[in-house]
């Protein structure tokens, strides 16, 4: 009997201990009583690590995170700005951890990255929202314009400063209390103010970019500013047309300096789930995941806060995935009002800077946003690609060693000889790190740029989404020019989506679905080689005021079937001469059973180039040939 009691007691104690040990409740850390939640959360994360605790839970409430006491880490973050980054959530080296916000709101102050998640596995982030007290942009309504002086006046809603004839975004800075004693303020090196740069005009009522907003885009070379009175600034800059009264100007900092603070940085992490997370704002991307495996977003929303006056959510992409593997799941999400794409899934080519010997090459990343990029590690498979023709020169090659030299250069060493197979400027593609993706039941709307960009060699399904972006909705590409995005797609299924009135920004060379690998020149597009394979677009509803529905270049196996195309009158077409479907260098084409009746009763137009395998349209096709060019 005593033995049984002891056993039961032991079980009970074990159970209690286990239950206790598995969760840190932040109410026990008195989080509700502090002004700055940063040190409290950092301590909780340290404790979780030290004690092997797997869950941190917030009491419901609003918490403010300041950067003053946030630990910093040097981060090279692809497609964002590198540097020392401060975070209250340094989730590094965890085997399992769940952060449950319990519906909490997190408000950030100044340049920080809310979550840095690195070298971890089995991470869950749920039930929380992220916002900033002061946004990483200026925003305000145009209240007057003057064609004679070529100026316009903006009533600015956000923190700003006019100095030396220029307009600056003002961010929150470190808590340096003795400033007021000494009156000495170092604004610029702290990076807490930045001159306005990239900009776009918004429709105040519809809360989306203005129709043909490209017309009003300010040349960032010289934006002159004069403060007329507190809150009202007169601006002068080159643009095709003066912005109309009533439009809302949004301008972040200068190109390559305005992506400092994504909401979530994920690096070298396996199995990560985001569930019921709202990102109202970030000074860069909502989520950037790199060199990670299996990432699931379920109700990860990048959206305007209800009742907020702001036009813009994240100042870059809502989500971005580079160099990942496994499966990326994006479902039940709302992505709206970003200054860039909803998602972009790709790898990054590096470029050969020097052939060192028979077994090794020095490679370089080209774009400044790829400084410090981890291209690959020993054991990865890569292949060498002709940079002009985008054509593989080798099959799979295993990496023996990758030696980081500096943020631009690494040295790759191969097991086998690459003699004669590689030359200066060639691209190298990591074929091991490509993710499969399921993108379903999402709403993507009212953002600058595209909805979805893809360059991955693993299967992708895009299903049951509502898509309404200002440029192309889905873009499948690859290039060895500016961005060097790698990973030709091998299998993409686009079905049961509704596309509505995309392409209204006025950017040239767009298409609702745009497949356009970037060759050095048209001549480099080889008839015998197709960059992409097996793209199936079926059962979608495509409502469009603009002409260009599908442009497909260099695809082996393109199916466009059973789509319902509806011409709308929402806006006037900006590029009325574009064909509805434009095929270049495609083979194995199937276009059938679509419905498309234009308001004038005509059929849709289909343009086919001389490199495309000719085919017969079924007699009842909604399209007719427009031309065949050699």
């Amino acid at each position: 009997m005593r033995l049984l009691t002891s056993i039961l007691l032991a079980i009970l104690l074990h159970f209690t201990f286990e239950t206790f040990a598995q969760t840190i409740h932040l109410k026990d850390y008195n989080i509700a009583e502090v002004k700055d939640a940063t040190p409290v959360v950092v301590k909780a994360i340290e404790d979780a690590k030290a004690k092997g605790i797997r869950k941190i839970k917030f009491p419901k409430g609003t918490y403010h995170f300041y950067k003053t006491f946030a630990p910093d880490f040097y981060c090279a973050i692809t497609n964002n700005d590198n540097g020392l980054k401060r975070t209250p959530f340094p989730i590094m080296g965890f085997h399992e951890l769940e952060i449950d916000g319990n519906g909490a709101e997190f408000i950030f102050h100044g340049k920080m990255i809310p979550f840095i998640i690195e070298n971890s596995e089995n991470i869950t982030i749920r039930n929380l929202s992220i916002d900033w007290e002061k946004p990483f942009y200026i925003e305000g309504e145009v209240i007057a314009n003057n064609p004679d002086t070529k100026t316009f006046d903006v009533k600015i809603n956000t923190d700003y400063k006019v100095a030396n004839g220029h307009l600056y975004v003002v961010l929150e800075r470190d808590d340096t209390p003795y400033e007021k004693d000494f009156g000495f303020r170092f604004a610029i090196p702290e990076g807490d103010q930045m001159e306005v740069g990239q900009n776009i005009f918004w429709d105040k009522k519809l809360k989306k970019p203005l129709y043909n907003t490209k017309l009003y885009q300010l040349n960032t070379r010289n934006i002159e500013a004069k403060e007329l009175q507190e809150g009202i600034v007169r601006l002068k800059a080159k643009s095709k047309e003066l912005p109309p009264v009533g439009a809302v100007l949004n301008s972040k900092g200068a190109y390559l300096f305005n992506r400092t603070s994504p909401a979530f940085r994920v690096f070298k992490t396996k199995n990560i789930i985001f569930n019921n997370v709202n990102v109202y704002h970030a000074g860069a991307m909502g989520l950037i995941a790199e060199r990670s495996e299996n990432i699931k977003l379920d109700a990860f929303n990048v959206k305007l806060r209800e009742g907020s006056q702001r036009m813009v959510t994240t100042t870059a992409d809502a989500t971005h995935f580079c160099n990942n593997k496994g499966v990326i799941t994006i479902k039940n999400c709302l992505f709206e009002n970003m200054l860039d794409d909803a998602t972009n899934i790709h790898g990054t080519y590096v470029r050969v800077n020097k052939v060192i010997d028979e077994y090794s090459v020095a490679v370089e990343t080209y774009h400044p946003h790829q400084k410090g990029y981890l291209f690959g590690e020993a054991g990865d498979s890569v292949r060498i690609v002709d940079h002009n023709k985008l054509q593989p020169k080798t099959t799979s090659l295993a990496l023996k060693e990758v030696k980081y030299v500096n943020e631009k250069i690494s040295i790759l060493t191969f097991h086998q000889s690459i003699k004669g197979k590689v030359e200066l400027y060639n691209g190298i593609e990591n074929i091991s790190w490509n993710a499969s993706a399921i993108i379903e039941n999402n709403i993507i709307r009212n953002n600058r740029a595209r909805s979805i960009l893809l360059s991955t060699n693993q299967p992708v399904v895009i299903r049951n989404n509502y898509l309404s972006s200002q440029m192309s909705s889905i873009r499948i590409t690859g290039d060895l020019r500016l961005w060097n995005e790698s990973g030709p797609t091998n299998s993409v299924l686009i079905e049961n989506n509704t596309f509505e009135d995309c392409l209204y920004g006025g950017n040239p060379n767009q298409s609702i679905i745009l497949i356009d690998p970037q060759y050095k020149s048209k001549e480099m597009m080889d008839e015998k080689y197709k960059y992409c394979k097996d793209i199936c677009i079926k059962n979608n509803v495509i409502k469009s005021f603009e002409n260009s529905i599908l442009t497909a270049q260099s695809v082996e196996g393109i199916e466009f079937t059973n789509n319902k195309i509806v011409q709308t009158n929402t806006y006037q077409a900006i590029f009325p001469k574009s064909p509805n479907v434009d095929l270049r260098n495609c083979s194995n084409v199937k276009i059938s059973s679509n419905s498309f009746m234009k308001s004038n009763g005509e059929k849709g137009t289909l343009k086919v180039d001389g490199k495309t395998e000719t085919f017969d349209l079924p007699p009842k096709s909604a399209f007719e040939f427009f031309s065949i060019m050699k």
Copy 2:
């Protein structure tokens, strides 16, 4: 006999092996045949480390170092700009290493740090010179000026660019060969061009700053530029007077962005010798040594290259020592034409940002150039200092722990309670890390700013030097305001030096020897507390056109004896009303046996404030009292 032979053979082999193993000869690495010496030298240093080799020797010659393949390291370098730094000499974690240049010339290309020496001991650098192909400034002669338009024209000798009405310094950049293919150039994020900022005008013939050059200094807020023809640029900026025709303008980049590339970075290193080293140029300091012990400079010269047209050597201090201990020896050096001091030996106060509990405080560095500063480590002794009165509030306190939080904040934990002894904004001084210094047989001339700055609690001897700087020659100070330089001097001997025509730049509040700890206000200077102790100035020759020879504030024990003061007519005095000697809040004053006869036959003037312990001048003194103010 066989035994003896074996022993002899063994000895011989051992000897040969030792001799071989102790030196890497870079001629064996074919260094003379490569365009870029960087990878060769990096390999040699790796080999030395792997094999325990203690010496690397260059064949005499000229070697070019490019940054393309230089390894990079994130460095927080006090009083310089932090960041990822590339170097061909990553001397890290060595127990003994000598680099013998054998008279070689090293030419650097672009933003690099020639030598990064960290966490090492017993390091010798000898027989080499350092220069850059393209300097970190623009330089050119004023060939015209126009009082009506308030513009002047400069014939620029260095690489520059005029864009959007502004003038930029252009540096060498990474070797990115495919630029020309794509025509896409990212200049700004690479940091390879910078708008002109801090500036000074030089005397072309004398190769020193212009007399009263302060008059011509351009306000950096807005320097407008227009290229008249290739090499000739018209500038417009605010200055008190237009620069005269024939003057040479030198301008580096903007404040806080123009100290990227010192020649030598030394950190956490013990016993380091520089011998016969010439630094002709650097894009920051010549040498910055931090948290190191025993540093000897013998013929470490920062000087103009013979035959060069350049006016300026290093764009910041020739040498700078912060937070060191042991002995700093500077002898037989020539320091000329720098844009800042010849040397500065000091510690840095941190400031209390938050009192956490009875045993710990969060401290912060104030100046942006002190981000990431390593203030101290467990075991160091520190004391707390009143920030207004510069007065210690505690005796020595031992640090139990120092926790780095971010580049601004660390948390200090003490063994004993500090309850009631510390408050917000107080300074904390590291009293363990102060170096003694011997500065003798040097020539310091023709630089902007001062010759020698001191704030160290260990004895310093300044002997047998020739000193001719444009501001104060020797400045002994301490502050809890802008720079937060710590370490009141306790013993300084200044003897047998020749000072010649200092103070010609036109800066106010200078003195040839200036002792001026910085209080928040005059009222905070406590009569009962003297910041500095035991400063003896004797047997010097002081030739001066300007009045102010010695200003001493808050010194207990100031001796000024047996100095020969000679009034010169080199220039007109800019501040003719200054007393020759000015004493404030001093005690234990001894002024005797000096000779000083002005050209008008009068004695020198001595001003003494009411806080200074009164004393009688000996009857034959070269000085007479000027005034006593309460």
